[in-house]
Amino acid sequence: MGVSELDFEVHQAEVFGFLGPNGAGKTTTIRLILDLIRPTGGMIELFGLEPRKSVHNRRRIGYLPGDLRLYERLTARELLKYFAHLRGLRDLGMSPALADRLGLELDRPIRALSKGNRQKVGLVQAFMHGPDLLVLDEPTSGLDPLIQQTFYELVTEAKAGGATIFLSSHVLPEVQHIADRVGLIREGALVLVATVDELRAHAVTRVEVTFAEPPSAEAFAEIAGVREVERQGRRVRFSFRGDADPLVKALARHHVLAIDSHEADLEDIFLALYRGTEDVDAS
C-alpha cells in the first residue's frame, strides 16, 4: 500500500496511536520510519535526522514489526543476546525482568513457541534497551487479555520515563486506553489527528427509546443534536450529541417506557468518519 499526504509530528513522552483498517498504509509508514523502504518524496526526521542517516540513532529505537519474523533456530535468550550486542548492551538489559512480567520462557527454541509467545519475544526485544522511541506495529496481536494489560503497563511506564511511543492498530479500544493523540489513516492518507479527549468530545451517544404508543413521524425531526432517526413501531433509535435538555423536554411530552443509551467509543467515530457522514467534523 502506498502512502501520501502524511503530515504529523510525535512529541517526546507521548503515546501516539496510528489507526486505520488493514491495508490503509500503517505498516508502510512504519517501514519508512525504520528506513526499510525509502520515500519517493517528502521527508521524515527521527531525533532531527533522516532515517537513512540515523543508523546510530537506532540504538535509541525499539521496533516491533507487524509481521514479526524471528530467528527460528535460536532460543529467545540467544536472540535477545544477539540484539543486545548489536545495540551495545553489556548484558541482556531489561530482558529478564520483561520476560518475567510477560510470562515468557527464554530458553525454549523460538520455532517451538506459540504465536502469543513469539509476540512476547518481539515485545521484550523492543523494550529491552530502554529506547527513547518505541515503534510498535499492531503490538497486541496474539496476546491474551491479561498480557495485553501488562503491555499497557509497559507502555505507560516507558512514557513516564520520557519515551515516545508510536503504535499502530486497527483495534480502537486499545489505543483509546493508552494514547494521548490519535492519527487516523485511510487509503494512504492521514484523515485526522486529534487528542483522544477531542475525539471523545465529538463522541455521539446511541439512544433507543421505547414509547407506550408509536410517536408521530415528525416528533423527532426538529430536536437539536438528534440524528439518524430510525423507527420501528413503538421503538425509536437515534444518535445524539451535545446538550441533552431539548431532547429530555421533547421526550417528556410522551409516555416513555424505557430509555437505553451508551456512549459511542472511537469505533463509532471512526466508522462515521469512514462513511464520510457529518457526525464528526474532521478538524
Binding site: 517501514r31 526499510l36 525509502r38 509481521d67 550486542h85 548489536l86
Partner: protein, 267 residues
C-alpha cells in the same frame, strides 16, 4: 558467537562447515587412495593420450594432461572439476543466504532496526562467507598434505597450498556474485541461479576456449581460466590471475553494497 552479524552468520554456518569438511576429506582420501594403482599402470597415460582434444581440455588442469605424475593426477581428478565445484556450491549457498535469505525469511526487518547499516550487513555477511570458504580450503589442504605424505606423491606443500588457495578464490568470486544477485533481487533463487549460471559458463568457455580460437577473448574473462591458467599444482600462483579473481569478488561486493543501500526491502 552472537557478538555481531559476522559471528552470528558463522554460527549459522557451523553445521554446513562440518558437513562440507567431511565431504572434502572423504573425496580427497578416496582419490588419493586410488593413485598408487594409477601410477603403476603406465598404459593409462597411453590410453589418455588417444582421447579427443575436447575431452582432454576438460580433464586437464592447467598444464599437460598426465595421469601418472602426482600433480597431473590431483589436477585432473580433484582440481579440474570436483574441488572448484564443491567449494563454489558452498560459497554460493552462503552468499545466497547472506541478505536474500534474511529478506525472504523476513528477519531482515528486525535485524536492520538495530544500529547496523546495510553496508555493514553486507560486509560482515561477506566476511563470514570468506571465512567459511577459507576454513573449507584449509581442511582440503590438510587432507591433501596427509594423503600426499602417506602415498608419496611428488607435489610440493607450497603448490598444494597455491592450488587450494586459487580454488578458494574462485569459489569466493562466485559467492560474491551470489551476494550481489541476492542484494539486488532479494530472492534466494536468483542469488543461487545467477552465480551458478556464471560458473557453468566460466567453466565451459575456459575449457573450450583452448580449442576454439574465436573464444580466446571470452576465455580471458572467465574466472575459471584465471584459476587454472598458472598451473598452480606445478608452478604455484601468478599475481595477475590472483588479482583478477580477487577483483571480481571485491567489485561484486562493492556493487552489492551500492544496490542494497538504495533498495526498498521486501516485506
Amino acid at each position: 558467537m552472537l557478538r555481531n552479524v559476522y559471528a552470528k552468520s558463522l554460527r549459522d554456518m557451523r553445521r554446513s562447515i562440518v558437513w562440507w569438511s567431511l565431504g572434502l576429506i572423504a573425496m580427497t582420501a578416496l582419490m588419493i587412495a586410488v593413485y598408487p594403482t594409477v601410477r603403476d599402470n603406465p598404459d593409462l597415460n597411453k590410453l589418455v593420450e588417444n582421447y579427443p582434444d575436447a575431452l582432454k581440455a576438460f580433464i586437464a588442469f592447467g598444464g599437460e594432461l598426465d595421469y601418472t605424475s602426482g600433480a597431473g593426477y590431483l589436477g585432473s581428478e580433484l582440481f579440474a572439476f570436483m574441488v572448484p565445484l564443491l567449494l563454489a556450491v558452498a560459497a554460493i549457498g552462503a552468499g545466497a543466504r547472506a541478505t536474500a535469505g534474511e529478506e525472504e525469511a523476513g528477519t531482515i526487518d528486525l535485524l536492520l532496526a538495530n544500529p547496523v547499516s546495510r553496508r555493514r550487513l553486507i560486509v560482515e555477511k561477506t566476511a563470514a562467507l570468506a571465512t567459511e570458504v577459507a576454513l573449507l580450503a584449509l581442511v582440503l589442504w590438510i587432507s591433501l598434505l596427509v594423503g600426499v605424505e602417506i602415498v608419496g606423491m611428488d607435489v610440493s606443500v607450497a603448490n598444494l597450498a597455491a592450488a587450494t588457495f586459487a580454488a578458494a578464490l574462485l569459489a569466493f568470486s562466485f559467492g560474491a556474485i551470489a551476494v550481489l544477485a541476492g542484494s539486488i533481487s532479494g530472492r534466494r533463487s536468483v542469488a543461487i541461479g545467477v552465480p551458478a549460471a556464471v560458473a557453468v559458463a566460466a567453466y565451459l568457455v575456459s575449457s573450450l576456449g583452448s580449442l576454439v580460437g574465436s573464444l580466446e577473448f571470452a576465455r580471458k574473462a572467465s574466472p575459471y581460466y584465471h584459476y587454472v591458467a598458472s598451473d598452480p599444482l606445478r608452478h604455484g600462483l601468478d599475481l595477475v590471475h590472483v588479482g583478477f579473481l580477487l577483483g571480481i569478488g571485491i567489485i561484486a561486493i562493492a556493487l552489492a553494497v551500492l544496490a542494497f543501500e538504495r533498495r526498498d526491502l521486501a516485506t
